[in-house]
Symmetry: C2
Subunit: 390 residues, 2 copies
Amino acid sequence: MTAEFIADWRTFSTPHAIERAERETDGVALIWSDGRRTRHHRFWLRDNCPCAKCYLALTREQVFEIVDAPQDLDVADAQAKDGGLDVVWSDGHRSRYEAGWLRAHAGDEASRRERGRAREKSVVWGGDHHVQAFACAELMADDAALLAWLSQLRSTGLTLVTVVPVEHEALLQPIGRISHLRETNFGRVFDVKSKPQADSAAYTSVNLPPHTDLPTRELQPGVQFLHCLVNDATGGESVFVDGFAIGEAIRREAPEAFGVLATAPMAFWNRDSRTDYRWSAPILALDAEGEIEEVRFANFLRGPIDAPEDEMGEIYAALRLFQAMTRDARFTIERRMKPGDMWAFDNRRVLHARREFDPESGARHLQGAYVDRDEINSRWRVLARERGAS
Amino acid sequence: MTAEFIADWRTFSTPHAIERAERETDGVALIWSDGRRTRHHRFWLRDNCPCAKCYLALTREQVFEIVDAPQDLDVADAQAKDGGLDVVWSDGHRSRYEAGWLRAHAGDEASRRERGRAREKSVVWGGDHHVQAFACAELMADDAALLAWLSQLRSTGLTLVTVVPVEHEALLQPIGRISHLRETNFGRVFDVKSKPQADSAAYTSVNLPPHTDLPTRELQPGVQFLHCLVNDATGGESVFVDGFAIGEAIRREAPEAFGVLATAPMAFWNRDSRTDYRWSAPILALDAEGEIEEVRFANFLRGPIDAPEDEMGEIYAALRLFQAMTRDARFTIERRMKPGDMWAFDNRRVLHARREFDPESGARHLQGAYVDRDEINSRWRVLARERGAS
């Protein structure tokens, strides 16, 4: 039986060997050279058969559908052989699985715990944070630099790109190294400057308190790029705060408030003559393991809180605490942009703010664009895969 | 005190009058002419003050931040007056709220239940469904027709647009009446035809089983538009099935399987030389009220299920049941497109399939594009608002 494994671009290796395979009522158990015992359900094994009948070689996509397996499908034979597992099925189909792949996808508690530990963790930061800078020319020319930039974005959520050409839409040069854009009703690229008929506080000169962009959307834009073309006005400094750091501090210091922020929906909407976007969700979104995966907040886009009367007191206590934290010097960093600087930050994690500026004192012009987390992660995975690191 | 209400574009009316306002420990209680008693927390009231000091008139966005209210902020005076509520605060600020707005946003149980009932419900459908058709020319010329189209999309998730010009990218004409596009790595507009170097099963001639597009993304594209330019090949019929109808049938007929489908994460990923998208989520996503809000499924994009060994049996039982339902004549409708037809369907609800076709028998060319639910809903709300219906 030859292995024609076309179900994945990645390869999987393991230092451990399959010592033997044992048939069980509903599948196969494998006993490994390190003593681990992994159990594989018959439908799971059949579903993951990587052969050229089950997968379309051209697209590497599965054509077999598990619903087409007979209900009583059984393992007729299972043998550990040549660094893998050979299975003969009761309906005559034959499958082969490599040991590395089986070990990497096993469902026993120890294997799942190992995968959990291998998952990258966010690095949270406070007011003393040093933002890592990347030279635009290097990102354009060097895949290793590009990978380092995206890795830093994924771990800390905030980076600076320097010496981006000071030209209209030049921010699309480094962004083009990643992917396409996330377009919004403000355009593919948006101009941040004081406008007479502003449809957003961003397009005035007022202080913008710490916020994420577009919490009014089901999916907030993932990474925001803000490129400085002109910054001659007095004021207008950039402020950043790590929403994950605030969330973790609240979890430690005020657990009840943390519970409210992770469960009480806040209403966010825009107020505009041509659009009417609305979304409600808690300020903190947690993943299945209870880790904070998203922060959603913009005071100027909040709508009336819709909650039972008796919960309003605790909701406002939590909201006021969160807002106070976003201003706290423990967490905030403040920088002034110069032409050619480009911030790139995770808009679903890092809140950004702008000090009020005086539009009479000089010009100020930034350009911005968004790319979603999916695209950042896809590009990062391909770069890492090409280096054998994924 | 004059009311300068700039916090919303909508107006709110109520047939009920505020009979009197009573100060409470933490806010104000209102007694209404129909006997209802609504209680409004002091911070909630202060937060929602719609005056020109608290809101920026130009953008209608809030500049006041509730964290800046003193912790001991109190209601110094509250009076029902001239069809609204006048409040004087302990720090001297004055607020006025219209009765209609207060009634529409009250947090008492009866008011919240009324809002819940007023929320539109999806209309689920089965194999005998008649798909509503809309003439492209009417959508282009008439806002009422556009509103009817979007309303139908929101309630049933599936519509047909007829007599779209048979020209390259002509689908952008009716889409342009809604909003910008959701771009993906397949482009802003994608061409569906058999390609020699296909990077997706969609671009081959094989049978595509019922699926949602791009379950590999955190946010699956909302509405998919598929416009037929040429359809001379044998085969290739379009099949649709309402995922909400399947989900509700499973909830009734196999509640344990429903529980699994709503909680067990499925892995979806693409397999491509230049991208590496992955996302894991249950096949059915439920909202806070337990209503199905999303279906996520494409057999050809599934990765290995990552679950504890002991749960695999029930997960595969639920998955196989779901797959079987997507093929069941109870639920499926099948149609053949002709040039000028354009399907518009909710990709996060309605699974679509394509029968195998014979590329030797004739040409087949569709063009597709996506618009997210946020944009559909925003446009619908503005159209409804302009008609005073929202």
